[in-house]
Amino acid sequence: MGLFSFLKNKFSKKGAPEQEKTSVEVYEKGMAKSRKAFASRLDDLSKRYGKVNAEYFEELEQILIESDVGVELSIRLIENLLDQARKEKLTEPKQINDLLVDAMFVDYATSGEAIQNEIAFRENGPTVLLVCGVNGVGKTTSIAKLAYRYQKQGKKVLLAAGDTFRAGAVEQLKVWADRLKCEIVVGKPEEDPASVAYQAAVKAKQSNYDLLIVDTAGRLQTKNNLMAELGKISRVLGKEIEDAPHEAFLIIDATTGQNGVLQAKAFKEVTSLTGIVITKMDGTSKGGIILSIRDELGLPVRFIGLGEKMEDLQEFDLDKYLYGLLLGSAE
């Protein structure tokens, strides 16, 4: 497993020791529900089978598909696993399980570049983060959590209330801005969101903000006019601040099924996405579609939402995610 350990080191990002502990705790707590279902299933599975047979592989496939891992990816993973097990004459359930986790790890790690989870700040001038996604995935809440995260790191953060469409959206972000004591740029109701983004970019530049986070209205990826609008917001930011948006996050809800890949594909076409934030991972959904998004489009998961509190947005850790998902243990 030379490749595996190499990738593992590359991907297992470690933070400061004291931070590490709380982060692990939040992760454990948040993922407990998803994991519990999983762990017991895989354990049960291993116990029921002394030796693996075709049925065992079928049940593994079921576990993947029921976690919303893409159908095509699930079938491919299991077919390869079956081949390898045959070739190497492996029959122990535990060996097979480990092999599967390794295969998933390698697939994720080799499907795109290794990217640091934290926002890559520019040396000079404000860094711009654009946040987008379909309706109801948790964009505004994630923005609040990101703002909190970077304020705590000593960054001067500005928010732009770019969702001028949904009733109550601006109020929602304003409440968060008040709680966080964070500056916010608000447009008029139903004002062109690109114009709000522009005003925010001007302000971010003039008043030396480190980070500008631009909220956008939720939009289904099939609505061409709304997708074009997002492209426009993206371009307007780039006109005011060089190379902006420097980061563009697509928010994906953990309950999302196979449509997640189509979402990522469509959003990637109108703005250059730099990562995924997977939200609502404290529920019972497993969010497996992120593995297919990475597999098909190379987009990495940057952060993971594990609860309703401000601290509950954590850096994504592939190792923890996969082990949590499949084996029920971080080690």
Binding site: V71, E72, N135, G136, A167, Q221, Q258
Partner: protein
């Protein structure tokens, strides 16, 4: 590609079958495998798919007429019947009781409860003429109350809120007594989104349920929801005795397999589907039509109903008469095109028409752009010019082009199209006299190409 639509999948599948004269174990296995993958990619629950595929296999093998029946037709019928069975037989909407009917909306965060509360209020208040009140029970999410108030006002219904400091159970009780005192027909309760495993918040819903006894408890399910939604529905159903499902965001390209699974496993009917962002974008859910849609057979009935709603029948009759008299003006043409637009955008219409799935996004956009060009040009003409476009000289056209921000060529093109339509009307009149219908009639004034 892994993510063709279910209908594309099936059509490709059946095309393959068409060349074969009999249904054998071998080609059936391949077919079943593809059906399985297609259903899983539509987010139909794993267990449901398993039993679905078995059902189809059994039904197909039970038939001993392989040699005589076209295998693709046979399989289409079996798959269609099974999907329809999976969706449930008939359509179900909210059942009103005597006096006040209380409808409570529940679901995970971000599934569209607040938006749907507004849309339901619009249906009840405007379409059914029920005096409707909407109460804000989501005291947790910032902005939720503002959002609900805004959509309730759009719907023309009454809004009830006690702010975000009062317990939702209390709010529900007060809303109910106010609704009864003031003779409301319907009370809609918009509750906060919650995880089904959150015992505290589920307890709150149980308490509301216990205190106000809603007549309907509807669970919101996102059309894009994945495999776990069956577990979510089971948990909500166990605690609250749901009466049905609202499937939100069916206007996207997600295929809503999750909702089908829920129906299959819990027996709960899907009562409505959210099909857009406007307050009127909520439709009753028609299981039989949805099965056709999944199979690529189009959804003609929905289109006809949409058209009926959008078109002012008296005006249409007047127009038809005028058309036949040969007095068809640019104004009339514009009005007709707008009626078509009201039915929905061209893409949405194309989806509903059988045999028309091949309209690309580009074509849709071109057609819609054409409509806009037509409208801005006609709007830049004087009323006299609209009735008598034959008087237009080069200088007039220049002015119109400038006024509409377009070119002379655009103006000429629009006028040409108008002439063509007029010509068609004339022909129609002659045909009508002779009692025949001309071929290729019934287009949209030559647009959409």
């Amino acid at each position: 590609m892994a993510f063709e639509s279910l209908s594309d999948k099936f059509s490709a599948l059946f095309k393959k079958m068409r060349g074969q004269s009999r249904l054998t174990e071998a080609n059936m296995d391949e077919m079943l495998r593809e059906i399985r993958v297609a259903l899983l990619e539509a987010d139909v629950n794993f267990k449901v798919v398993k039993s679905f595929v078995n059902d189809v296999k059994e039904k197909a093998l039970g038939q001993d007429v392989y040699a005589k029946v076209n295998p693709s037709q046979m399989v289409v019928k079996i798959v269609h019947d099974e999907i329809q069975a999976l969706l449930g037989e008939e359509q179900a909407e909210v059942a009103f009781v005597k006096g006040l009917t209380i409808v409570m909306l529940v679901g995970l965060q971000g599934t569209g409860k607040t938006t749907s509360a507004g849309k339901l209020a619009y249906q009840f208040q405007n379409k059914l003429g029920k005096k409707t009140m909407v109460a804000a029970l989501d005291i947790y999410r910032p902005g939720a109350i503002d959002q609900l108030q805004a959509v309730t006002e759009k719907a023309g219904a009454s809004f009830f809120s006690m702010g975000d400091k009062v317990n939702p159970v209390e709010i529900a009780k007060k809303a109910k007594s106010k609704a009864i005192d003031e003779d409301f027909d319907v009370l809609i309760l918009d509750t906060a989104g919650r995880l089904q495993i959150d015992e505290t918040l589920m307890g709150e819903l149980k308490a509301i349920n216990h205190e106000v006894h809603p007549d309907e408890v509807l669970l919101l399910v996102d059309a894009a929801a994945g495999q776990d939604s069956v577990n979510v529905a089971n948990a909500f159903n166990k605690d609250l005795r749901l009466s049905g499902i609202i499937l939100s965001r069916l206007d996207g390209d997600a295929r809503g397999g999750a909702a089908l699974s829920i129906k299959y496993l819990t027996g709960l009917p899907i009562k409505y589907a959210g099909v857009g962002e406007k307050v009127s974008d909520l439709e009753p859910f028609y299981p039989d039509r949805m099965a056709d849609r999944i199979l690529g057979m189009g959804d003609v009935v929905t289109l006809v109903e949409k058209a009926k709603e959008a078109i002012d029948e008296k005006q249409a009759e007047k127009d038809a008469k005028k058309m036949l008299e040969g007095e068809f003006t640019l104004d009339d043409m514009l009005r007709q095109m707008k009626m078509v637009q009201k039915i929905g955008n061209l893409g949405a219409i194309a989806k509903l028409i059988p045999g028309m799935p091949k309209l690309t996004d580009e074509q849709k956009e071109t057609a819609e752009k054409e409509m806009k060009v037509f409208e801005s040009i006609v709007n830049s003409m004087t009323p006299y010019e609209r009735r008598h476009p034959e008087v237009l000289r080069f200088s007039h056209k220049n002015r119109i082009a400038k006024g509409s921000g377009l070119t002379n060529a655009d103006v000429n093109r629009v006028l040409r199209k108008y002439e063509q339509s007029k010509e068609m009307m004339k022909q129609m009149k002659q045909y009508q006299k002779s009692g025949r219908i001309p071929p290729g009639m019934g287009g949209m004034g030559g647009f959409g190409r």
